[in-house]
Symmetry: C2
């Protein structure tokens, strides 16, 4: 096996996009110059680096500058929601180069949904002008708990037929790729939002408010999954206004029972303003329904109660509110801000920003792409695979 | 400057205590054999490694095995509490080799307290049979918020005269050492408990229940400080039973206002059972006071309400309850368990353990020592300092 140790350290630096000389790479990584020279050749051969001379020359005198080559390979990113499947092709810089969304009910089951992915994926690669051999791997987000190591769903409440299904194995075979990773959709949205819009924020919390409520936590730049992968379960935190409201989890007073899209729609319906989904609530609010606007503001306050505790515990610098119900604009977020700033200590909110998702409907695929790219280009992988 | 890159990677492996050959070190780090040979020599010269042959030989045929040498240097660990100062000398394995505790009121101010540290520290080094030149650095825990980068206290409520005081600069001068690090005491207790008793648990939460209430969070084996170093502020989380109880922070319904040692003592006094401190409450409970036992159980339930939210968010594998009020035995922890297991989803509590602190009064100094050792032996430091 050829010596490859150090390739990861070089790429970690160069992924920031700035070209560097061998001497700079040696100084910044602490690797010996001879090692740097050798590993640069290896990464050039793999296509992951390119010559980046001012003159753009690749012949004659040995060129001096090297840069990361994001176009070397592509990844397929898949965001499977309750009622849609979104696919995207992204380069190694995480930039989306082609995408397609199809309405599909998750209850159709894993075979049907993953057939769609393995048929649409190659078509999308072609649309992006890439060959099958350019595919580095596939990343998938699912709307339920996933055991990250195996990529299998664990008792997902809204995904009949998916429990324990070998999603990565199925996709590796169908897409003929060695790398398939699966995670919970909210975790991937947190990664996507962080990479694309808040790369400098070490601590970010992404809150998805849709049919259900969940959170993804980024600490020191990395996703926090918890000991059983169950971290970020904001929906079943008890909130004061929840009182004795029964929740589908079997407990009472959970946030999700009062502030999810489903809960707000049910409340409006009981008030004589019929609504069924988050989208219905958003439409009502946009249409000026006072009942809808009031309900959204109160949902924001309830979410704020749970987030105030999260702020005290975690002291994030950014809270991003996403998901279908957040599309209603400022009503929901105003309620969140009202309670978080009232309930939290000044030091914890001094630099805190509470904002609407900027990645929007693309957060999931951006995160799925980043998960695969990070894994494939990590030092632990690059430095052991020749 | 000599090439030193790779020393950190070697030490990170060898700090587990297992001796290794050069070939093993090369295989496990991915460093070239020539680099390993060179860096091993450098670490031997610095005293951080020792020859570890089966025969214990250091002459004749070149020895083949190398091990971390925890006795190479020592650190001074200082735990400054509201009414005590505890000092300890620890080797590079984090083992305490000498310690001393003195009653001292934090309100005496930084000059007086740090004078005590800089007088007692050298005496304790001598007691441990070590010379001043063996001192690698000093680590200090303070009972209030600390800006970790500068080591200065930030508006600490119970520390008059300490706000913004340059604790590290003062100690570097007095103790003639280049390295002085300061953090909040609960953060250090979390590190100490984790290293000494739960090194295999990636996600641990340490809860200190004393005059106040605070938490230290370990995620993926590392302390989570948050964007302003304010993470772990469990005391000012709102709990249902808190209702409209006023808290010293200016809010109402905070956990600390109902479940801290001070709050429980005040409640008992109002019931005609005089108590002032956490220790008084513990004495009453040990003496069989039904009122004290009931109050502790309820305090545990209130802490459990806040921790249930923390469990949903963070999914830790271990919650350690420490601090003076936890010395009352199982009464407090039984209340915590009751609510956490009732309020949290099964997946999040499947492997969760809620236990009393094992490090006890030593948690702070163990954490202070680990903070300094980790910093000094980190790759980023070892690989840049010749």
């Amino acid at each position: 096996m050829p010596e490859v140790g150090g390739r990861g350290a070089l790429l970690r630096l160069l992924r920031d996009g700035r070209p560097r000389t061998r001497a700079e790479l040696s100084a910044e990584t602490g690797l010996a110059r001879s090692t740097v020279a050798d590993r640069v050749e290896s990464l050039l051969a793999a296509g992951l680096l390119r010559h980046a001379d001012k003159a753009g020359s690749t012949g004659g005198r040995p060129p001096g500058m090297f840069a990361f080559n994001p176009g070397a390979r592509v990844v397929l990113a898949v965001d499977i929601g309750a009622t849609h499947v979104k696919l995207a092709v992204a380069d190694l810089g995480g930039t989306i180069v082609a995408e397609r969304e199809t309405p599909l009910d998750i209850a159709a089951g894993p075979e049907r949904i993953l057939d769609h992915v393995s048929e649409t994926g190659p078509a999308l690669l072609t649309e992006a002008g890439r060959a099958a051999k350019d595919l580095l791997g596939v990343g998938v987000g699912l709307p339920g708990p996933v055991e990250h190591a195996s990529g299998r769903p664990v008792n997902p409440p809204i995904m009949p037929g998916w429990n324990g299904f070998d999603v990565p194995g199925h996709l590796r075979r169908r897409l003929d790729t060695a790398l398939a990773l699966v995670d919970n959709d909210v975790n991937l949205m947190a990664i996507g939002e962080h990479r694309a819009h808040w790369p400098e924020a070490p601590d970010l919390m992404f809150v998805k408010v849709a049919t259900g409520i969940g959170a993804g936590l980024i600490g020191d730049g990395r996703l926090h999954r918890g000991s059983r992968g169950a971290a970020g379960d904001l929906g079943h935190v008890r909130v004061p206004h929840g009182a004795e409201m029964p929740c589908r989890c079997g407990n009472v007073g959970c946030l999700e029972a009062v502030a999810s899209g489903a809960a707000v729609a049910a409340k409006l319906t009981s008030l004589g303003v019929p609504a069924r989904t988050s989208a219905d609530v958003v439409d009502l609010a946009r249409g000026g329904s006072v009942a809808a606007i009031r309900s959204l503001r109160q949902a924001g306050r309830d979410i704020g109660e749970a987030l105030a505790t999260a702020v005290s515990l975690l002291n994030p610098s950014v809270i991003v509110v996403g998901g279908a119900l957040s599309q209603a604009g400022e009503h929901l977020i105003a309620g969140v801000r009202e309670i978080v700033y009232q309930r939290s200590l000044p030091l914890a909110t001094e630099d805190l920003r509470i904002v609407q998702s900027r990645a929007g409907a693309r957060a999931g695929v951006l995160g799925a792409a980043a998960m695969v790219i990070d894994h494939a280009l990590s030092p632990s992988r690059l430095d052991t695979v020749p």
